[in-house]
């Protein structure tokens, strides 16, 4: 049993993929680093904060990536984004069984301005292209830096999102909200509030993530194998029907949460009997409780 959260991107790859099977594209020895950071006289990384390549997952050819949260918060610069896009396009060319993205990112690397913004939008487009080719895309969010900004949106472009309670997924991060709207709106130093608002359990209850696991590498690996097996053979492309169903779910969520400002109130609205206990539940007990209450696309009119 080992924590996934505490691993670096380079340690996560062998912990999730079959041992010794991963072949990295543009490894650090190629020294494809950020030209923008060099111009700003800022430290660069030889892999620009992301490992991309292909390997085996449970014996199947699966393309993948791991973002390094320790380097600039996993933020996406031009090179970082181009590596992700190149890997995603090659996954189509080589008819991958699936794509698995180990995400940990604050979003766009603001130092790189428009180049970073464009990079993130290209990642989203490439993910949808992979899905359009009939190849499932699965995102894993379990790093200490969470998954925010443009990469938060990118995560939701995947067919399935796997999280731990410790993982966080959102658009604007806590500090951004506090800076823009004031501490009365959101206290970014209130860690319990931050996790209630962006953490894995909240995302699972709201239907933004499809699988919740304990923070263990083996659990993430097993969940990724399961998710891919479940998606193969089904419809992984964007369809009008699927988008309309998702839109219905979002509209229902808006209605359910109207006027509520505290996640625990939202959980209560979903039917959770003791919302204050939710943060303390272990993953298994939480899943058992959540099964009856979480928002899903197919739960009809609540």
């Amino acid at each position: 049993m080992s924590s996934y959260q505490e691993l670096t991107a380079r340690q996560r790859i062998p912990a999730i993929f079959d041992a010794g099977s991963f072949e990295e594209f543009l490894p650090p020895s190629e020294r494809v680093a950020s030209p923008h950071l060099a111009q700003l006289d800022a430290p660069v990384s030889f892999d620009d904060g992301v490992v991309v390549g292909r390997g085996k997952l449970d014996g199947k050819l699966v393309f993948g990536a791991a973002q390094e949260g320790g380097f600039m918060g996993g933020a996406v610069g031009e090179v970082h984004g181009a590596k992700l896009v190149g890997m995603l396009r090659r996954a189509i060319d080589e008819n991958a069984h699936a794509v698995l993205l180990l995400l940990e990112s604050g979003g766009v690397r603001l130092h790189e301005a428009n180049a970073g913004l464009i990079a993130v939008s290209e990642v989203m487009r490439a993910m949808l292209d992979v899905r359009a080719a009939g190849i499932p895309v699965v995102a894993v969010v379990g790093g200490a830096n969470g998954c925010f900004g443009g990469m938060g949106i990118a995560a939701r472009c995947a067919n399935s999102v796997i999280m731990s309670e410790e993982g966080r997924l959102a658009m604007s991060g806590p500090e951004v909200i506090e800076t823009a709207n004031g501490v009365e709106e959101f206290d970014s130093r209130d860690r319990a509030l931050v996790w209630r608002t962006t953490g894995g359990k909240h995302r699972y209850l709201l239907g933004d993530c499809q699988v919740l696991v304990a923070d263990e590498s083996d659990a993430f690996r097993a969940a990724a194998i399961d998710a891919i097996a479940g998606l193969r053979g089904g419809e992984v492309r964007l369809t009008l029907e699927g988008l309309l169903a998702e839109q219905d779910m979002l509209a229902r969520r808006m209605r359910d949460a109207e006027g509520l400002t505290e996640p625990m109130e939202v959980w209560k609205q979903l039917g959770v009997a003791e919302p204050a206990r939710v943060p303390m539940l272990e993953a298994d007990a939480f899943l058992e409780m959540a099964a009856q209450h979480r928002a899903t696309i197919n739960d009809g009119a609540r």
Binding site: P27, P28, R31, V44, S45, F46, D47, E68, G70
Partner: protein, 104 residues
């Protein structure tokens, strides 16, 4: 940023295998890329550091490293974000061990 270069001649321990990267370019940390490279028995180290003005300290840490390992035909490249000497030494040892699998 400051770039520092070191070269130690006549190492006794040759490296073999694939290039390895250890560490992360985060605050107080660094990444070390180690690669076998034909350098006539020398070990070359290039450091790019965000902490300017610590050349003498780096010199001492690198000399200690060479005393420990005496690498030959090895190229080491470092991106540093203000790591302390102890962290630099540990990362360098970790890098060598990732290729050799052993202690000095």
């Amino acid at each position: 940023m400051e770039t520092l270069k070191y070269r130690f001649e006549q190492g006794r321990r040759s490296l073999a295998g694939m290039p390895q990267l250890v560490g992360v370019v985060g605050s107080g940390n660094l990444e070390v890329l180690i690669e076998p490279s034909p350098l006539q028995g020398a070990c070359e180290i290039e450091v790019r550091t965000a902490a300017v003005g610590f050349g003498a300290t780096w010199q001492a840490v690198m000399a200690d490293f060479h005393d420990r390992w005496s690498l030959a035909d090895a190229r080491i490249s470092i991106n540093d974000m203000g790591a302390t000497p102890a962290v630099v030494s540990l990362r360098l040892d970790q890098a060598v061990e990732s290729l050799t699998g052993g202690a000095p």
